[in-house]
């Protein structure tokens, strides 16, 4: 499984766009990129997944570099509810359990 590197923390104000980067330089061709987030006192929650290019859903967008070694999760117009730990996970469909690192703690101020 490819190792991922994320910044440990980020800060933002309400209404700003937040971009959380994730480096996965050893990503294999069979692997996908997943993002989860965890708010205090709850389990992680799936946000978005992608393989290449650009993916968007109602919560976030995901940009993946052409060589797939870097991905960026974009959260538009963050609110206080978006304050959470964001995890980037790279894995394939081999059925192995997801491995969570320490993620990126995003703080949002009014």
């Amino acid at each position: 499984l490819a190792k991922t590197t994320q910044p440990p923390s980020m800060e933002a104000y309400e209404g700003q766009e937040v971009n959380v980067s994730c480096s996965h330089t050893n990503i294999a061709t069979s692997e996908y990129i997943y993002w989860y987030r965890q708010v205090p006192h709850q389990g992680p929650q799936f946000i978005i997944q992608g393989y290449k290019d650009y993916v968007v859903n109602e919560v976030a967008s995901l940009f993946i570099s052409a060589d797939r070694k870097l991905s960026t999760l974009s959260l538009p117009w963050v609110s206080l509810r978006d304050a959470a730990v964001y995890y980037c996970i790279v894995t394939d469909m081999g059925g192995r359990a997801l491995i969570f690192g320490t993620g990126t703690t995003v703080s949002v101020s009014p």
């Binding site: 997943y34 389990g43 393989y51 469909m93 359990a97 969570f100 690192g101």
Partner: protein, 115 residues
């Protein structure tokens, strides 16, 4: 939305005692997982299961047993609890298949304190 329910939400146990953490999912997912979360370590995988009757060791299985008596239920058992097992435990379920790896659905966690 997938539903995963853990019980109890909080538990205080004594060293050497037996602790059972329960997890129930109502979405007919094949796979279920137990993770623990400690400050600075993210989530670490303890045991998982691919279906009723099966259990597999994760990355940190020592001191833990697991039981999957049915599709819906997955328990984590600490036969002889120790203070080092004080942590927050999360259960998750997911379904394999499709064009990519499964999406996991997590419960709200059980906070275990071993005195």
């Amino acid at each position: 939305e997938a539903a995963v329910t853990q019980s109890p939400r909080n538990k205080v146990a004594v060293t050497g005692g037996k602790v059972t953490l329960s997890c129930n999912q109502t979405n007919n997912h094949n796979n279920m997982y137990w993770y623990r979360q400690d400050t600075g370590h993210g989530l670490r995988l303890i045991h998982y299961s691919y279906g009723a009757g099966s259990t597999e060791k994760g990355d940190i299985p020592d001191g833990y047993k697991a039981s999957r008596p049915s599709q819906e239920n997955f328990s984590l058992i600490l036969e002889l609890a120790t203070p080092s097992q004080t942590s927050v435990y999360f259960c998750a379920s997911g379904r394999t298949g499709g064009a990519s790896a499964e999406t996991l659905y997590f419960g709200s966690g059980t906070r275990l304190t071993v005195l």
